[in-house]
């Protein structure tokens, strides 16, 4: 019999219930396979010995709960991840949005901010940064603190610079940051147009109307029902003719909002055609 998993499926459900009751964080709609894998990872990282103790700690120690949220969520990200996607923003989305007097952008599940700085660089190169505002939100406050610092490992810059070029960038990527020991500190000018805030896609409401919403590689962690609910939230937060962008493996197909959206050819970008509520 398998002994590798020290937490069984029933115990996973118990923890989800505890966390909802104690802290109001609702993970019931999360994909269980990934959630369980993260739980087991945390359990072994922290050298927990029994489920009972682990459970007690999560439910009663709010400092440890903070760590729980940090570790259960997957915060892996990159600058200009999927360069072709950013190229499509450059060539197909911003030429339209650029005609607006003001551009409000929501990055939902922005993690440590690499996406936000990529977006700011794009806007700056298109001369749109001045009239744009980037709302970058995440469930995890710790990643937002990092994002606000705008410092990323210098060792990543070679990769990011290649991504940047792949996205159609023509400047010297290193002109956007200064090297500071092992870190690359991005220009404050880029940060000036960002607002960081915690926002839980499961339980928090729409807080503004946007012309562009990006939510990339977050929905993969949700089951279909929760995905539909979150897509509805985006729909409520998007202006008519606004754009919704998802990760390369995510889609609005199958969801009730899909009828009102038209996909941009092969990109994972959809345009909202009508405002009618269904």
């Amino acid at each position: 019999m398998p002994n590798s998993s020290s937490i069984n499926d029933e115990q996973v459900e118990t923890l989800i219930t505890d966390v909802l009751e104690q802290y109001g964080y609702d993970f019931t709609g999360y994909s269980r396979a990934s959630f369980k894998r993260r739980l087991l990872r945390l359990f072994s990282l922290d050298k927990q010995v029994s489920f009972a103790e682990f459970r007690y700690k999560i439910a009663n120690d709010s400092t440890y709960f903070k760590r729980f949220v940090e570790q259960i969520t997957v915060n892996v990200t990159e600058m200009f991840r999927d360069p072709v996607f950013y190229k499509a923003l450059r060539e197909k989305v911003f030429p339209n949005l650029g005609t607006y007097p003001f551009i409000r952008i929501w990055l939902a599940g922005c993690s440590t901010g690499e996406e936000a700085y990529s977006m700011a660089i794009l806007l700056k190169e298109l001369n749109l940064l001045n009239k744009s505002l980037i709302y970058a939100t995440d469930i995890n406050p710790t990643v937002l603190e990092k994002a606000a610092q705008g410092m990323f490992p210098l060792s990543q810059m070679k990769q990011y610079s290649e991504n940047y070029i792949g996205s159609g960038g023509t400047k010297d990527f290193s002109s956007y940051y200064s090297a500071n020991y092992s870190l690359a500190k991005f220009d404050n000018e880029l940060k000036a147009k960002m607002i960081f805030s915690t926002h839980n896609l499961v339980s928090d409401h729409s807080f503004n109307e946007f012309q562009l919403i990006l939510c990339r590689n977050v929905l993969i962690y949700f089951d279909r029902d929760l995905q539909f609910k979150v897509l509805q939230l985006f729909d409520n937060s998007l202006e008519k003719l606004g754009y919704l962008a998802l990760g390369t493996k995510e889609t609005t197909d199958f969801s009730p909002i899909s009828k009102r959206y038209k996909r941009l050819e092969t990109e994972k970008i959809w345009r909202k055609l009508s405002d009618e509520k269904l």
């Binding site: 019999m1 994909s31 269980r32 894998r37 993260r38 962690y221 995905q227 889609t251």
Partner: protein, 187 residues
């Protein structure tokens, strides 16, 4: 094994040519899904499914997240995501840290499949130059599944199958031209 519910094939360097030789000989009526996890460069995924679909009459598709796992279909794990399988037999993709310097990681999918399919799972590890997949095979065995590897003597890069033989309990060591008969006999 009879009544196999899923076959997962993992491979790295040197595994593509094995797949190209084996897939054409797979019975088009196989009653279980075949899930293929291979290491490769980012952004080349549709190329792989396109290439492999020219080698078989079976449906070959790159996995979409939350789609149902269907029998008689060959699924390719997209590059740069880990593949997990949910208890309700749907696929989940995951963008967490690399495992064994790899994403997708073969270990991750073997382990996830083991939890879901238990003793109705067969995992086959092919040619490759790192040891991704070896721990996964150990888990598969713990759950009562069947483990198979490419005969290292026939592997372009023998490290991966050789490590598996060394560290895990392997039921079948297969030469390339034995693989299709083996797979066809699983039903």
């Amino acid at each position: 094994m009879k009544n196999c519910n899923a076959l997962v094939i993992g491979g790295s360097a040197g595994s593509l040519e094995v797949l190209i030789k084996v897939l054409p000989k797979i019975d088009i009526n196989i009653p279980f899904p075949i899930i293929i996890v291979v290491h490769r460069k980012q952004g080349t995924d549709s190329l792989l499914s396109e290439l492999l679909s020219t080698k078989t009459a079976l449906i070959v598709k790159e996995i979409e997240e939350k789609e149902s796992v269907l029998p008689g279909t060959i699924y390719i794990v997209p590059s740069d995501y880990h593949l997990l399988i949910e208890k309700n037999l749907t696929f989940s993709l995951d963008y967490s840290e690399k495992v064994n310097y790899s994403r997708p990681s073969i270990d991750v999918t073997f382990q996830s499949a083991a939890e879901v399919y238990g003793d109705k799972l067969v995992c086959l590890l092919l040619s490759g130059s790192n040891s991704d997949g070896v721990n996964g095979l150990i888990t598969v065995k713990n759950y009562g599944g069947e483990t198979a590897v490419q005969d290292p003597l026939t592997a372009q890069v023998n490290y991966m199958p050789a490590q598996a033989i060394l560290k895990a309990n392997i039921d079948k060591v297969l030469k390339i031209d034995e693989m299709s008969d083996y797979i066809n006999s699983l039903s």
